[in-house]
Amino acid sequence: MLKVNNLHTYHGFLHVLKGIDLEVLEGELVAIVGSNGSGKSTLLGTLAGVYLPKEGSIIYKDEEITNDGVQMIVPKGICLVPERRQIFSSITVKDNLLLGAYHRYQKDKKTINKDYEDVVEMFPRLKQMLDRPGGLLSGGEQQMLAIGRGLMAKPKVLMLDEPSLGLAPLIVKDIMMILRKLCDEMGTTIILVEQNLKAALKVADRGCVLAHGKIVVSGTSQELLHNPKVQEAYFGKSSKKTEVPFNTGKKEVRGKKLI
């Protein structure tokens, strides 16, 4: 469905993506994990058309979309739920949701209301707060709103940038379950960028690990969960060799605990 070949993206002089090759099949939930600064958000931004790559190609449904801007890509069915949710805080939950359907307002004006009702049904917590400004919602509710806003675009591919950021584990679990459900029941292809390795790989079909702008490991979620290379990509060294960074008197291995 989405094929990425040798993608190179720069932020000014900074070479962030250094040749990404990736294929995402229809109806799949793919997790992209990696430590800070590995290029995860840039990859999603490039796929969504927010950043234009310098080299390489992005093929979506046999059509090249490499240099299409975000305004052209969203109507084609690729939608990004940006990092830190980016809720429109001064406008109501309803308007936030309707803004998600912005690009198809003229085309399918009639179906928007139905989609809106469907999305509201999908997130019962939002139903109680439709008239509340987005900024007054809790972190978890905001994330649900951000996903709902993304769904209003009726995407074939939904891309989420760190939806677990700053959320309690239980809420993260809820959000991940919602994503799995979207994938299974609605057939939406999902690309999930996460720091929370365990939470992401638990629900994903496949995953790949990004480090220094390159995909270093990829495979099924189960494979990745037990792959020592994944820990290496996260912490810079193999977990077996991991030592306590400071002499705190405790013998536990920090790296292992964190994962």
């Binding site: 927010v50 949710r85 805080s89 308007d95 309707l98 803004l99 912005y102 972190g139």
Partner: protein, 352 residues
Amino acid sequence: MEKKDLKKIYHNSPAGPIIFTVLLFLMPVFISSNYIFTIFIMIGFYALVCNGMTMLTGFAGQISLGQATFYGIGAYSSAIVTGTYGLSPWIGMIAGMILGALIALIVGIPTFRLKGHYLALATLGFGIIVYTSFKEMKDLTGGSNGFFGIPTINLFGFEFNNDLRYFYLVWVFVMIGLIFSRNIIHSRIGRALRSIEGSEVASDAVGVNIMNYKLQAFMLSAMFASLSGSLLAHYVTFINPELFGAMTSIYFLLMVIIGGSSSIWGSIVGAATYVLLGEILKQLVPMFLPSAGGEFEIMFFGILLVVTLIYMPNGLYPQFEKLFSKFKKKKEKVQPPLQVGGDRVASGGENQ
């Protein structure tokens, strides 16, 4: 959620605006003072400019420090078209609005390519250039001496040649402007504009063409300012560049902030506060400080701005709205519908 409830949320009761309009248009029945009419006419001029600026600042999140420039472009266009070429004032008005929009487009295109508040800097610089041009293009504008002999407006032979008639003319324009802006705000365009003000990253992600909308909002605000300038020129029949300097632009911004930029009704509140307080100050200050010059106004409004930003960061209008809601609540004993965009939410923390 019932559809009825949803409608209620998004379309506030029109009672307030209707009562205001009826009272305003009936005012001359009870008051026949030309001084009061003049004050209301001035409020109308400023409210028109602020209406456009509210769209730009409150909704698209852009700050212009050169709105007096467009006000001046409208005034001089009308003056030149009618005074020099003897054409109809309506042609002058339309020419001014088109010119204002075109200039906004030319200034806006390079400016909106940059992120951040570069529009404020660009418009400030541009304002100074135009102000100097008004002064130096003596053949066209009359230079510092000003432009004399601008005719009054007439519509099908009906001359708007006294304060009462002009009061109605100006306020009809203000009301049309408000209805126009209100319709924009409650449409898809309004939502898109608000989204830009909320988060550019997210509005980009949902496919909103940010640059286009910013440009359109800027052009619209320039057209409102230009229209107001044209009306001013035909009212005072004499204009000079001093009316359109950088200080006037700052006062416009001040009116928008004091009135409240989150609602278009804030433009009337801001303009009224500025004009009324200015008049009161002119009476009061000489009584207590006989040697004070005109600068006291700048000081006073500076302090007022700081106080407003500390205690009422959303401006005065939301306070009126709260009062009105309380009154309604008492009367109906029902929770009033929430005003969309009435209170801004504090930014920061987890909720961002």
